[in-house]
């Protein structure tokens, strides 16, 4: 029983990690508290449903189109909402409030078009494998492999490619990046595209299993933020560690309490971290003055 | 010794960061910002601290005003017989026992009016809690009126009868020019009951006319309010004309201290701060 929950936790955690990584990519480099990120996660499966079920396009193609459209939404948020505010040197709070505005609009647009109720993309029950007395579904395997592959690829690129150096340089010092003639506004678009990609994959993987409604984004975003903070803000490995820890913690808490208390537990952990270890597992302490 | 208002006894401060040596061994490198600073600030005198960028002058100010902790050493403040251990007093209480500070940047409140900037500077916080917002109307009004009168008197004393500050007292402080904001920051220090005032580069970035005005104001602080002034300054003529005592800090140590003329003419100070002119001049002459 314990091991079953542990494995379930790790699989959920891998999705948290992927989604959290997308958030961290934007937050660590641009310092935008990107609440509108929640809607990317929510909107991707709706795009998929439109092409797959309404327009009867092949699954692979539908997934590709859905992901591309989500990336376009992400880019539009940066181009039409954030970039002009950054140019005006608005304060971080103004950016965050605008982000809330984007989120409100998108959630209600989706609710207008598709309705408030839960939609199912894949009605059939997933096959499952039994190893000893542990059950793993086919979907869970797909989830774990897909998120691991994307996280792994990202980490490799981050460490060894020019893109990785640029990302980490921008996290350290954006002004200095400009001094070495890096096109910062252009590179931000790349970052927003990748973060949109991660949110879309996370959203589709989860919705394939459980379905979606217009409000699934916010709880996921909250988990992603908690994962980021308990991992440690500023490091790109942090959301991965934080996501897995959070996933396991929540799964085990289901064992002790009940599933309803998941969010409260996540945030109690967050508050404990904020109080006693604000730099998270692997982050660095910030110095005041 | 009775004349000393601030005792800084062998205060040290260092920041450390880890260094990786070959093969991954990590050690700590201590970067010493202040190294056993000893300074006795004389009551009623103007003491100037000079030294190049990064020598630790502002760090010393941050330590005296409680924004930074010390690693070692003691700080005592003795305004009138009473002895306060500054390491044990939280920063906000310093103003209440008479230590004032003006920062390098102006640090005025841009969204408060000129007059509000003065009123808020009263170190007596009467009326500044939520409870008194509802009650004690009469006393509050009286105190506010009294504060305002005091502020107007200060403006008049510093800037004469028809001054721009009284005229603009209902405008946001951000509408003042940079120089005027600096003057307002200085005028604000008259609102409290300060015995010791720390001024961090009062003349940085202002024009010569204002420099003269600032010197005048600092004089008034000493003459009319018996304040003791400790100031960081790069403007040498300003230091020469104003200060009584001078301290030269180099790489975290006090290297020379004494009267202004003594310190400024000290060849060692010249060499390490502005450049060694005498020896250098000889060499260029030789070349020519």
């Amino acid at each position: 029983m314990f091991i079953q929950f542990l494995i379930n936790g790790l699989i959920t955690g891998s999705i948290y990690a992927l989604v959290s990584l997308g958030f961290a990519l934007v937050y660590n480099t641009t310092r935008i508290f990107h609440i509108a990120y929640a809607i990317l996660y929510m909107i991707a499966p709706y795009f998929l449903m439109t092409f797959l079920i309404k327009l009867q396009i092949s699954p692979i193609l539908s997934i590709l189109i859905a992901i591309s459209l989500t990336i376009i939404v992400s880019l539009a948020t940066e181009l039409f909402v954030y970039a002009p505010l950054v140019k005006k040197k608005s304060s971080p709070n103004v950016l965050m409030i605008s982000s809330i505005g984007v989120m409100i609009i998108a959630i209600n647009l989706v609710a207008l078009c598709y309705g408030n109720e839960t939609k199912i993309i894949n009605p059939s029950l997933s096959d499952s494998y039994k190893i000893g007395n542990i059950i793993i579904t086919y979907n869970q395997i797909i989830q774990f492999i897909t998120s691991s592959v994307f996280i792994g690829l990202f980490m490799v690129f981050l460490k060894f490619s020019k893109f990785g150096i640029m990302t980490r340089a921008m996290r350290d010092d954006t002004e200095l990046c400009k001094v070495f003639s890096m096109n910062v506004p252009g590179f931000r678009l790349v970052l927003f595209a990748i973060s949109g990609l991660f949110a879309a994959i996370g959203g589709i993987l989860t919705a394939w299993d459980f379905g979606m409604d217009p409000y699934v984004g916010m709880p996921m975003l909250l988990n992603a933020i908690v994962a980021l903070i308990i991992g440690g803000i500023g490091k790109f490995q942090a959301p991965v560690i934080g996501g897995l820890v959070l996933g396991v913690l929540q799964a085990l808490s289901v064992l002790v309490f009940s599933a309803n208390w998941k969010d409260a537990i996540a945030f109690s952990v967050l508050v404990l971290f904020l109080l006693f270890r604000p730099q998270g597992f692997i982050g660095e302490k910030r110095r005041l003055v | 010794m009775n004349n000393t208002i601030l005792h800084i006894n062998s205060v040290s401060k260092s920041f450390s960061h880890s260094i990786k040596k070959l093969n991954g061994d990590v050690s700590k490198e201590e970067y010493c910002v202040l190294d056993k600073i000893d300074l006795q600030v004389q009551k009623g005198k103007i003491t100037a601290i000079i030294g190049s960028n990064g020598a630790g002058k502002t760090t010393l100010f941050n330590i005296v005003s409680g924004l930074l902790n010390t690693d070692k050493g003691e700080l005592f403040y003795t305004p009138n017989g009473k002895k306060y251990n500054l390491r044990k007093i939280s920063p906000y209480k310093l103003a209440r026992i008479g230590i004032g500070r003006m920062f390098q940047d102006n640090h005025i409140f841009p969204k408060l009016t000129v007059m509000e900037n003065m009123l808020i500077a009263d170190t007596d916080p009467y009326g500044e809690n939520a409870f008194t917002s509802f009650f004690y109307h009469r006393k509050k009004r009286k105190i506010e009126k009294e504060r305002k009168l005091r502020a107007e008197q200060i403006f008049e004393m510093l800037f004469g009868k028809a001054n721009p500050f009284c005229e603009k007292q209902e405008d946001y402080a951000e509408t003042l020019s940079y120089g005027q904001q600096r003057l307002l920051g200085l005028a604000r220090l008259f609102m409290g009951n300060y015995k010791l005032v720390l001024l961090d580069e009062p003349t940085a970035g202002v024009n010569p006319v204002l420099v003269k005005k600032i010197a005048e104001i600092i004089r008034k602080m000493v003459d009319k309010r018996q304040m003791t002034i400790l100031l960081i300054e790069h403007n040498m003529p300003f230091v020469e004309s104003l200060a009584d005592l001078c301290v030269f800090i180099n790489t975290g140590k006090i290297e020379t201290a004494g009267s202004v003329v003594e310190v400024l003419d000290n060849p060692h100070v010249r060499e390490n701060y502005l450049g060694k002119r005498t020896t250098k001049r000889n060499s260029t002459d030789a070349q020519a």
């Binding site: 040197k89 020019k162 150096i165 640029m166 980490r168 340089a169 996290r171 350290d172 010092d173 002004e175 200095l176 400009k178 001094v179 070495f180 003639s181 890096m182 096109n183 | 960061h17 880890s18 260094i19 990786k20 070959l22 093969n23 990590v26 490198e29 970067y31 190049s52 960028n53 990064g54 951000e174 509408t175 020019s177 940079y178 580069e201 940085a204 970035g205 202002v206 024009n207 010569p208 790069h234 403007n235 040498m236 003529p237 020469e240 790489t251 060499e271 701060y273 502005l274 450049g275 060694k276 002119r277 250098k280 001049r281 260029t284 002459d285 020519a288």
Partner: protein
């Protein structure tokens, strides 16, 4: 090479730090700017690079007007900038810092520049340190790395903002030695911002005295009375 005419500017709308700077820097000349804190030395550097929020006046570089241009476009004309305090990317390794700084070059050019810099900076030659995160370096090494990053693109124009600030005397000597050698090896115009008059005079041909956002005097270093003039400037 660089011509500044009537530059006004600052970080906020109602506070201008530069009040009409006029300055001419000829090709292959080293111009030092000295002056007290807050007179606008670093602000002037930022104005040249288009990094100042409020700035007016004309700046021409090699005959082309560069005011109101993007920082990137200005940098790409062959200008390098050593920022105050030796700013670098603390979480990138020494190698990555250099790769990032030299990302405009192709591989062979980059390797050439790197081997050239190896002769000057023992830090880069030290293989053990090449893969270390920059935050693990000592203060002097960080300055070396920042300087190497400024030099890696073979700039024709170099802006150095207090290369010696916060360094021990030996490290200061080292940095200036390297700069002297670079000057000998290649054609480079330098704008040096320096507080230490000695260093400034020893290193440059021209010295500009900045006060209250205005250039008060430009002195030729070979002029016999340069120290008297500077003295007068500092002590009125």
């Amino acid at each position: 090479m660089l011509k500044l005419e009537n530059i006004h500017g600052g970080y906020r709308a109602n506070h201008s730090i530069l009040n009409g700077v006029d300055l001419n820097i000829a090709t292959n000349e080293t111009m030092a700017i000295i002056g007290q804190n807050g007179t606008g030395k670093s602000t002037l550097a930022k104005a040249i690079l288009g990094m100042l929020p409020f700035c007016s006046g004309t700046i021409t570089f090699n005959g082309i007007s560069i005011n109101n241009k993007n920082t990137i476009d200005i940098i790409n004309k062959g200008i390098a900038y050593f920022m105050q305090g030796g700013r670098l990317f603390p979480h990138l390794t020494v190698k990555e810092n250099l790769v990032f700084a030299g990302s405009g070059q192709n591989k062979t050019d980059f390797n050439n520049s790197l081997s050239r810099l190896k002769q000057h900076f023992d830090l880069i030659e030290n293989i053990n340190k090449f893969e270390l995160e920059a935050s693990y370096l000592s203060g002097g090494e960080k300055h070396q790395l920042a300087m190497a990053m400024a030099l890696i693109n073979n700039p024709s124009f170099l802006i150095l903002d207090e290369p010696s600030a916060g360094l021990s005397p030996q490290n200061t000597e080292k940095i200036y030695e390297v700069l002297e050698q670079i000057k000998k090896e290649q054609e480079v115009t330098i704008l040096l911002i320096e507080q230490n008059v000695d260093k400034a005079v020893a290193f440059s041909n021209m010295v500009a005295l900045l006060k209250n956002g205005v250039i008060e005097k430009v002195l030729d270093v070979s002029h016999a009375k340069v120290y008297e003039e500077i003295d007068e400037f500092y002590f009125e």
